[in-house]
């Protein structure tokens, strides 16, 4: 029995497409609901981010419930930045009880990069330990070794950084995540497919699914900003030049084209098992990018 609809799709061998939505800062979720409605049938699952970049938002778990209510398949992003092991376990029980069975384990960005820089960072456990913790709960026990009444079950994902400029320690962590029980990985933003190819040569020895992270760029300025300010992102100069080369106001169109041709190449060359689209702030354009990636006009 698969843990979730998404797990069933992961194991079906089809090319997987996931995306993510960032919940609003506040209680008005109408825009998020609008995006869920647009995305739910276009992708295999929707991640809901957990105070991405340490910027306070409506909670990930709340967002996942909204995705479910609207007929989508949610992936609960869960960082270790804001909750200790008690709070994490409690949220996992709640998620499972309410039918959220996909979870993405993350360490979480530093508090210092966000909008509450004076907050106390928790990091009681890390992403590897969180994965182990979930598998322990599935065996019927909490982290303190006490028996649970009703056990949760999850399809667990995590992240990996194939474009890291020092890949070896990242691969050590990747191995540990696999051993801990991660079933699928959504990579950090991929811009250089040769790096993805190299990573896949390594990771194909493990029985895990790899979804290449595709960040939709909207301008050269955004790319430069991300290089300087977003942890782990490295947009290469040739893409920045390509974005800078278009006339004003056409940046996003170019960004969509870049994303679509990257997806097309990945799918046609079967570089990995799927893609994870991150259209930061432009969630609504994801279905269009997926369509473009399947059209003849976009060249891989």
């Amino acid at each position: 029995m698969p843990n979730s609809l998404f797990e069933e799709k992961l194991n079906s061998g089809k090319f997987i497409i996931t995306t993510e939505i960032g919940p609003p800062k506040g209680c008005d979720i109408s825009e998020m609901v609008h995006h869920i409605d647009i995305l739910k049938d276009a992708v295999d699952a929707i991640n809901v981010t957990d105070h991405q970049s340490s910027v306070l938002r409506f909670p990930s778990l709340g967002g996942c419930l909204v995705v479910k209510e609207h007929g989508g398949e949610p992936i609960l992003q869960m960082t270790c930045r804001d909750r200790n092991r008690l709070a994490l376990q409690a949220d996992l029980m709640f998620a499972c009880q309410r039918g959220v069975h996909n979870v993405l384990t993350l360490t979480g960005d530093s508090v210092d990069v966000g909008d509450h820089k004076e907050a106390k960072p928790v990091f009681d456990i890390d992403s590897v330990q969180l994965t182990k913790l979930i598998r322990t709960m599935e065996s019927g026990y909490d982290m303190g070794g006490n028996e649970l009444t009703g056990t949760p079950n999850f399809c667990i994902g995590s992240t990996v950084h194939p474009e890291s400029d020092f890949i070896e320690p990242q691969l050590v962590k990747f191995d540990k995540k696999v051993s801990a029980g991660v079933q699928f990985f959504q990579t950090q933003g991929i811009f250089d497919l040769s790096k993805l190819r190299m990573f896949m040569q390594y990771s194909s020895q493990f029985p895990v699914k790899i979804l290449a992270g595709i960040i939709v760029l909207s301008s050269a300025r955004m790319a430069k900003y991300m290089n300087a300010n977003v942890p782990g992102i490295m947009v290469p100069q040739n893409l920045i030049d390509e974005l800078a080369g278009v006339e004003k106001g056409k940046g996003l169109a170019k960004g969509k084209e870049i994303a679509a041709r990257t997806i097309k190449t990945i799918e046609e060359e079967k570089l990995c098992h799927g893609v994870h689209l991150m259209a930061v702030g432009n969630e609504g354009i994801v279905p269009e990018i997926i369509e473009m990636s399947r059209s003849e006009s976009v060249k891989a």
Partner: protein
């Protein structure tokens, strides 16, 4: 050693505003070495306070100063008894431990902190101090090539780097080395990368309930326990 920084003069002046006679007490150990609260800094602060008062007579204070060898040991604090006889407040330029030890010793005198106790660190070069130990009470430096991830990784994580480092630097600051990059390089050099490949379970915070106490009487005196 313990590294501290002197509080700004206006903060100290605000703290002492209600008190006429103020004793400034230095500490001859860590804060002397890091230049925050030794005899020299006590004398500087004394001069600064008098100068500020001369320029801006917003209440008259009289000051005295004294530096003891260590503010964290009762036998040295005893030496302050005569100096503190008729003072209204004491500014301690010791670390937070010294401030509290002096406050314990003088229950009727307000004892005010003159420094911010910052971290346990090493002197990397002249005048530069870097944090090295979080005093977690569960040292695992044998497993991490002598580089502490709890102190030097901004997230204090145990199973390898997050996805944040660029050019070997932490996502928090381009001036800060990623601890896990350093650990990897060191373990590789030592031929001990297997240590990093091991899974490390979550930290046991029960070994550090606060406040902690250590009893090692047998090492210090031959007391009843050793008889």
């Amino acid at each position: 050693m313990i590294v501290a920084e002197r509080k700004p003069l206006d903060v100290i002046r605000q703290m002492i505003a209600p008190y006429a006679k103020v004793l400034i007490v230095g500490c001859g150990t860590c804060v002397t070495v890091c230049g925050a609260g030794g005899e020299r800094e006590v004398s500087f602060l004394h001069d600064e306070l008098r100068l500020a008062q001369a320029k801006n007579p917003d209440g008259m204070h009289t000051y005295s100063e004294y530096t003891i060898k260590r503010q964290c040991d009762p036998e040295f604090i005893d030496l302050l008894d005569a100096k503190a006889e008729d003072v209204d407040a004491i500014i301690s330029l010791a670390c937070g431990i010294g401030v509290q030890a002096v406050a314990d010793h003088f229950p009727d005198i307000p004892v005010l902190p003159g420094v911010n106790t910052t971290f346990n660190g090493v002197s990397s070069e002249y005048g530069v101090w870097d944090e090295r130990c979080a005093t977690c009470g569960d040292c695992r430096l044998d497993e991490t090539g002598g580089i502490c991830p709890i102190t030097r990784c901004t997230k204090g994580i145990l199973n390898g780097p997050c996805a944040g480092p660029k050019d070997g630097k932490c996502e928090v600051s381009k001036d800060m080395d990623c601890a896990w990059v350093l650990i990897y390089q060191r373990l590789e050099r030592l031929g001990q990368l297997d240590k990093m490949r091991r899974y490390y379970p979550a930290r046991n915070y029960q070994v550090v309930p606060r406040p902690r106490r250590i009893v090692v009487k047998s090492n210090v005196t031959a007391g009843a326990e050793n008889a």
